[in-house]
């Protein structure tokens, strides 16, 4: 079984994000980039599958700030290959563009599964799994929480919301957006990452400049600040009424 895991960097949400001079993107100079947490889940699922059923895990992604760190981390965790695509693109990469670049590389690869995170925090133009699936003409599914080889294909379990899950049988190759792996992403000790770094081993590939289109961002801004709690007073009956009102306003039905 050969599993490709598409990974990417994302601005670290613990940072305070600032908008750059153009007003249409975050200030990328200033912010810290980390591996997308859902991609880490996808990697974990791939590694678990490999450990259980054998095979090969190839990590791929478009170059970005500190992306080497993520790739070395993946190698240290047990990925067999790490591939970095570059095309000179800088800044906020739309999903459509990312999918186009990945599809170009994947065309020449053989694989059984492409796993990626169900989403990333800046997925303005949609989530990768579906867009990439369409580009490759392959069946795809998102919000995947379960994956197991099954006969000639895979048993794929997706979350449909409200705790309902759907299990389908699909024959590969497949593109899946992983919501959660069977276990929390493993810890990789820094010494192993350092070993991976000194061993090198990232394959770097130039790819053609993308052509895909995406919505044009005209303004990026912070939502209005919330500040301190609005006090509802201390008369229990009135407060109770307000609370019930607030709950209903959130679209939660209470009798």
């Amino acid at each position: 079984m050969k599993i490709v895991v598409a990974m990417r960097q994302i601005a670290d949400l613990v940072e305070e994000l600032e908008v750059d001079a153009s007003g249409a993107d975050i200030d990328r100079e200033f912010v810290k980039f980390v591996s997308n947490e859902w991609d880490e889940a996808a990697l974990e699922e791939a590694l678990c599958l490999k450990e259980a059923h054998g095979g090969e895990v190839v990590v791929v992604g478009v170059d970005d700030v500190d992306f080497d760190q993520t790739l070395f981390g993946a190698l240290a965790k047990g990925a067999d290959r790490a591939v970095k695509l570059s095309c000179g693109f800088e800044g906020w990469m739309p999903t459509a563009v990312r999918a186009e670049l990945l599809a170009r590389w994947l065309k020449d690869e053989s694989f059984d599964l492409v796993l990626t995170g169900v989403q990333a925090a800046d997925d303005l133009d949609g989530q990768l799994a579906g867009v990439l699936g369409a580009r490759l003409g392959l069946p795809h599914a998102a919000v995947v929480v379960g994956l197991e080889p099954d006969g000639d294909g895979f048993k794929v379990t997706q979350e449909l919301g409200g705790g309902v899950t759907l299990t389908s049988h699909a024959t590969g190759p497949l593109v899946l957006g992983i919501q959660a792996a069977r276990q929390a992403p493993r810890y990789v000790p820094i010494s192993r990452i350092r070993q991976a770094m000194s061993a090198g081993g990232i394959e770097e590939l130039e790819v053609e400049a993308p052509t895909a289109r995406a919505p044009k961002v005209t303004r990026l801004f912070a939502p209005e600040a919330k500040g301190r709690a609005e006090m509802l007073g201390d008369k229990p009956s009135e407060v109770a009424a307000r609370i019930v009102e607030l709950i209903r306003a959130k679209g939660i039905s209470v009798s």
Partner: protein
Amino acid sequence: MLLAAVETRKIFGGTTHLERVLFYLLSLVVLVVFFAGLGLRVKKYMAGRPLDAGRFRRARVPLEKPGVSAPIPLAQTGVDIAANRTVSRRNHAVGGAHLLLFWGFLGLLAATIIVGLDYDVYGNLTRIFGGKELSFFKGWFYLGYNAVFDTAGLAAIVGAVWLAVRRIRDTKSSVALDYTRAQKPKSGYSRAAMTAGDHLFIFGLILILFTGILLQGLRIDAAGFPSFERWTWLGYTVAVGFGALGLHGSAAGSAHFWLWWVHILMALAFVAYLPFSKALHMISAPANLAVRDPGNTRRLPSPPSGHAGYQDFADFTSKELLGFDACTKCGRCHAVCPARTGGAPLSPRDLILDLRQYADRKRGIPMVLDWEERPDQSGPKNLEGRLAGEVIEPATLWSCTTCMACVEICPVGIEHVPTIVSLRRSLVDAGEMDPTLQSALENIATQGNSFGKSSRMRARWTKGLDVPIPDARKEEVEYLWFLGDFASFDERLQEISRTLARVLTANGISFGILYEDERNAGNDVRRAGEEGLFEMLVEKNMEAFSKAGFQKIFTTDPHSFNTLRNEYPAYGLDKPVMHYSELLASLISEGRVSLSGLGRKVTYHDPCYLGRYNRIFDAPRSVITSAGCELVEMPRNRTNSFCCGAGGGRIWMDDSVLAERPSANRIREAAELDVGYFVVACPKDYAMFSDAVKSTGNEDRMKVVDIVELFAEASGELALAGAASEEAPES
């Protein structure tokens, strides 16, 4: 039998040639067994890893502190052993008894050697070379010998009986003597053999000593009470006793004959038994004390090359293997361990015993009545399993707070903490850890702090200060203040950090901080077993230091203090490192500040990493008393302080499994003192104990305060916001 003309006695009184041959043959066998046993052990140690500067010696680094990170001088160890100082610490009764037995036994050993020298060496040599068998075992020498070694015999008997009585009396009530495991194997276990072994050892010893004295009495009685034998005062007294009982002459002679054989057989058996039993500690304990180096705990050793952590037998150092053999099961570490006290599945004693059993099984060394039995092949019986994870359970290893209480009290100088950390390293390497620890380590790796906050937020606590804190990267300062994560990021502690900043500014101290360049110092990261991350943090911090201009460092956090002071020098840090309590104390002692009396009754908690680790006991106390507070000491104070439970990475782990958190245990202890304030000198303590004061329902009675809050209030120059200025409970 004729009266002897000179003051001496026959060594083999009344024995035939056959019996002599028998005795020598038996002795030979016994010596072979003894040395074979010792040989097996020594070979075991040699199979371990040598340290980096000799088999039992580690390499020295710059700036070692005597009594802290420097090895203990041999002379001191000699005195410690001779005076049984480590045995009598915090337990003078047992220490005294052990001292009697120790010197008594050594005396009797010397007596035996002297007789052997005279009869077997001097006698034979003179017979062979001079043609006539001579002896120096006569005259004044003989008289003095008997007088001195009878005293030794009595000392040994009194000591041994005392110890035996105490063991029988206290086994039920003493935590230390209770052999129940802290970690309960699923299959069950039995330590009955160990208990039997203890009894065999002490009662066997008493019997040997006792029969020796009786023999003397019988001999003197049989010899008709020669008057010079009055020098053999104990034997003579016993002989008088026999006489009074009507035992005389040949009856006493034949009783002597039989008892002599009983005594000799027991003594020989003891020698053979020694290397395979609890008695081994007579050799291994002083040997281990001679190579002990508690600095190993303060400055942890690096992992074995090629392995992230300990994986199999060969990873243990020779020193560790010797240490395992030195354990006497005294249980002192077991009694003081906060993990064990809190109900965690860790007892340092059990850990050492498990590792000893594992090592002995691996090497095929048999033991006499010193086994723990189990129906299955788990734990130390699991010779093929993973050392960290199967032989020793992960939960056991993760329970340690690295408080060092065990290392501090162990009478034979065993260093549990480095071994625990070395085993943890394997768990970390396999990614086997608490999810909360994992996320803390991930946060530290990516953000440089355990809070997972952006490093740019690190100096945010300085907002709200009237005088901004100089940036040590931009201007030269005298002191670089290294805050640590808690003092920087924890909202409750930020106010205390601001108070300290105000106090220092008001007193004209030149200090600065590293702003976003400060990283977690890595003390607890290292102790959690993440060596690679520790090294990365050291590199980052050293890089930041190299960009800053300062002469000394002071820290808020005792944990950071420990690693900066004791571990960073190996990575090139050459500046003195202080704790803020020392800085405050020096302001007082130099008369730079006058404090007004607060008139409060307080108690003080010694943080493990400040007190036990770094021997700073008086600086915080002087701040407290100078602030006019009456200090009521905790029952467990200074080197015997009880851990808050946060160290060694425990603060990042789930402690809800504990029956009682160590911090709650500590607050209960303080609640007995009738004080209104619980004073701390560590940010983690502030967090842990504030929580514990609430959870134990002591909020109305006791308030947790930091020494700097007392200082600030007593110096009166500062209008304090926050805890210290609030209405304080009356004490």
